[in-house]
């Protein structure tokens, strides 16, 4: 079991200093993610989901406690290019076309020209943006930009995918479609995925593990191991098991809100 641990957070604290006092974004967070896990993070807005994901990717420095990835520090893992990261906002570079944006990580990681073209085409198709490769970001709708940023993270084969509300700006049908695609990709490649979402059904449908968080200070209130089989179709959402898990998540979420209202 032990060699399968990919991400491990121990007593993680993270405090931001701001102009009017410190903000405790994460407090005493413990979590173990194993290889091949699909972990969803859910919780009220501002509870620290993004901060936690960023800490895993070594984009934030914990104030206390430790976080290890693949047995090394998060920062070493970052330097080994262990992550594909999708930011909450699309964050495309405005001076590059969509194809150029997707190509960016490939250029940096030294892919060949031919490989790049192939990867770009593949992921553009995956997110349903074929034909938009030559457009600039501001010529795309909000949802299209978000899909482009997903494509950018998928273009290279990182073992760990960290996705911060990737499907927030998409309609149900595209979302369902991308959910299926993502599950398929995950099953095929055995990636480890950390996934922030606000949609309870999405979290339940996708995850092997659901982490419920609550704010001020941000902490984990519940960790739900999914009992659903790894191989899932969309129909699974009508099963009692699914509904039960969703219920438990909703309760956790509500409790988190209660604290504070």
């Amino acid at each position: 079991m032990d060699q399968d641990v990919v991400i491990e957070a121990n007593n993680l604290d993270l405090t931001f200093q701001t102009n009017d006092g410190p903000v405790h974004a994460l407090k005493d967070v413990n979590l173990t993610i194993n290889k091949g896990d699909f972990v969803s993070f859910i919780g009220p807005s501002g509870c620290g989901k993004t901060t936690f994901l960023r800490a895993m990717a070594a984009l934030e420095e914990p104030s206390n406690g430790s976080i290890t990835v693949n047995g090394m520090s998060a920062d070493e893992a970052r330097r080994n290019r262990a992550y594909g990261y999708v930011f909450q906002a699309a964050g495309l570079y405005p001076w590059r076309t969509i194809a150029g944006n997707i190509k960016l990580p490939l250029e940096i990681m030294g892919f060949s020209k031919a490989e790049m073209a192939e990867h770009v085409n593949k992921v553009l198709e995956l997110v349903d943006l074929k034909g938009f490769g030559k457009k600039f970001p501001w010529q795309l709708s909000g949802g299209m930009q978000q899909r482009a940023s997903i494509a950018r993270a998928l273009a290279f084969d990182a073992d760990i995918l960290l996705m911060d509300e990737p499907f927030g700006a998409l309609d149900e049908i595209v979302r369902d479609h991308l959910n299926e695609q993502l599950l398929e990709l995950w099953a095929r490649t055995e990636k480890t995925i950390g996934f922030v979402t606000h949609s309870i059904p999405e979290a339940v449908y996708l995850s092997t593990k659901i982490v419920v968080m609550s704010p001020r200070p941000g902490r984990i209130t519940d960790i739900i191991e999914s009992t659903l089989p790894k191989d899932r179709s969309l129909d699974i959402r009508d099963t009692q098991e699914f509904i039960d898990i969703a219920h438990r998540v909703r309760e956790g979420l509500r409790a988190g809100h209660g604290d504070d209202a």
């Binding site: 290019r81 990261y85 001076w95 250029e107 940096i108």
Partner: protein, 307 residues
């Protein structure tokens, strides 16, 4: 092309002001002269006199244009009396200095952005360097460069081997270029430091998730984001470079170029010659700035920055 009419309008307004100014500023002299000669001048006499003085306080536009015409079109461009010849002397120092200066400026900016030690130690001294009056150290610099023999571009012998005779502009080019570079590197440093620091946190974080090397972050993120600042700096930098070249011409030997024309024009009281050189320099500056503007528009459009 849409801008032709506005430009013409503004130029016309300017000319009107200029003519009025010429009449006003030169009239004192005309009246003074008349008084000493004991005659009364009518208004029309004042106007004709003020617009045709040989040593006006402010020459009339047509006088300057005539002078320009005579010293550009009507002179062989290799003649020492041709403004084109002198313009080229100045331009060559400007361009060489601009290339040095921009190169140095960009390098320093990169160093400052990437190395905290450089940021803290170089920046204050770069600022201090610009507060040193260039006209004060230009002569010292010329003397020193003269002493170590670094005055000609390529050197007389090399140039002769390459071109038969040493092209006139190469003689004494280096000190002027160094001074031009000295003035032009600073705006580039300031603008580029700001520009290279312009990427926002998320854009930088993206690079960190790729564990991009410093070089990759530079080429793919910092440099593209700095482009608007870069071109603005270049525009100021090339104008500064021209000023540097002209200033340097006062301490260089032999005295020539547009700066030399201004100096000798002033020394021999040839107001028209000063103004012609002045306008010549401004045309040069405008052309250079315009060129960079065109480059900027082209680049930014290719970068999809503006519809």
């Amino acid at each position: 092309m849409r801008s032709i009419i506005p430009i013409l309008t503004v130029v016309a307004a300017l000319m009107a002001i200029w003519y009025a100014g010429a009449i006003w500023m030169n009239s004192k002299w005309a009246l003074d002269q008349a008084e000493r000669a004991g005659v009364e001048l009518s208004l029309s006499e004042i106007v004709t006199d003020t617009l045709a003085q040989e040593r006006p306080v402010l020459p009339a536009p047509h006088q300057v244009v005539t002078e320009l015409w005579q010293t550009t079109v009507e002179k062989n461009i290799t003649s020492k009396r041709s403004l084109v010849f002198h313009g080229w002397i100045t331009l060559s120092a400007t361009l060489l200095g601009f290339i040095f200066g921009t190169g140095l400026g960009v390098l320093l900016a990169v160093g400052i952005v990437y190395s905290r030690a450089m940021d803290m130690s170089v920046m204050p001294w770069a600022i201090a360097s610009q507060t040193i009056p260039i006209l004060a150290i230009a002569p010292m610099l010329v003397v020193v460069m003269n002493t170590i023999g670094a005055t000609d571009f390529l050197g007389k012998d090399t140039a002769e081997a390459l071109f038969g005779t040493q092209p006139a502009f190469m003689k004494g080019l280096l000190p002027k270029a160094v001074i031009a570079a000295y003035l032009s590197f600073f705006p580039v440093v300031v603008g580029m430091v700001k520009g290279l620091r312009a990427p926002d946190a998320m854009q930088l974080d993206l690079m960190r998730t790729y564990s991009a090397s410093g070089a990759a972050t530079f080429w793919k993120l910092r440099l593209p984001s700095s482009m608007p600042y870069f071109f603005t700096s270049l525009k100021i930098g090339i104008a500064a470079s021209l000023v540097g070249a002209i200033v340097a011409e006062l301490s260089a030997s032999p005295i020539r170029g547009l700066g030399g024309r201004m100096l000798t024009g002033s020394y021999y009281g040839q107001t028209l010659q000063i103004w012609a050189a002045l306008i010549g320099a401004a045309v040069l500056a405008a052309a250079l700035v315009g060129l960079i503007g065109a480059l900027q528009r082209g680049t930014l459009r290719r970068m999809g920055m503006k519809p």
